[in-house]
Symmetry: C2
Subunit: 138 residues, 2 copies
């Protein structure tokens, strides 16, 4: 199976794309000739990763009948100093709030995503060290 | 340098995030319990790659005084059959239109991006075979 996307130049540093029918404008920072009309491309890699694993986890937890009140994945990427600058280390924090959140089930859901289901993790872990932690906030 | 992003659960399979101040909703397809209120996370990896290299190329060409009338990067990713499903092969087609587009300069700009500047290429090429071609349309 193949997926195809077009990223089309608008003007200056701005590009327009459409993903699953949703338009996204990409643009650079003013410092490098852009006009900040949309997000930078590189952090979308982090969004792709966090979104992929977040959807895995919430759907696995639903099957386990674990229903958090709040769920957030905080992803942070450490960039290399030298060009090409990429994320050499990525931290994923799975943050939950709710009344009945057994840690063993949260861990199982996260591990299933990180080890078996999340294709973006599978790609990026060949280039970056990906570490994760689970946080239950009271 | 570090970049941090939060991907926060809305409901069902929908998540909300903000990248450089721009809100993006992620959602799954109806077939897997989503409501298609935003793009899937995985193809954002392709957008990240194509946007990164597209911005490199247009800014290098500007320095070379090459000004295309039209520029589009078409990115297609071939997914593995087995879980975790990721892009094992990625094709980048750099498509240009315009009056004065010397192929040696186009190639130089694309090669500089692919070999030296594009951090997303640097990451993804550790997991996927990335191939590219340059097309000048008349």
């Amino acid at each position: 199976m193949s997926e195809k996307i077009n990223v089309t130049w608008k003007d200056e540093m701005a590009f327009e794309t459409e993903v699953n029918g949703f338009k996204i404008i990409l643009d650079a920072d003013e410092k490098v000739g852009g006009k900040n009309r949309g997000p930078r491309p590189k952090p979308l890699t982090l969004v792709s990763l966090a979104g992929c694993t977040a959807m895995d986890v919430i759907s696995i937890l639903k099957k386990m009948r674990v229903n958090p009140d709040y769920f957030n994945v905080e992803v942070s990427g450490e960039l290399t100093e030298e060009h090409p600058r990429y994320y050499h280390t990525i931290n994923l924090r799975y943050i939950f709030r709710g009344d009945d959140l057994p840690m063993d089930k949260l861990q199982k859901a996260v591990n299933l995503s990180q080890e078996r289901y999340c294709g973006v993790t599978a790609m990026l872990q060949k280039a970056a060290k990906i570490v994760h932690e689970i946080v239950v906030e009271v």
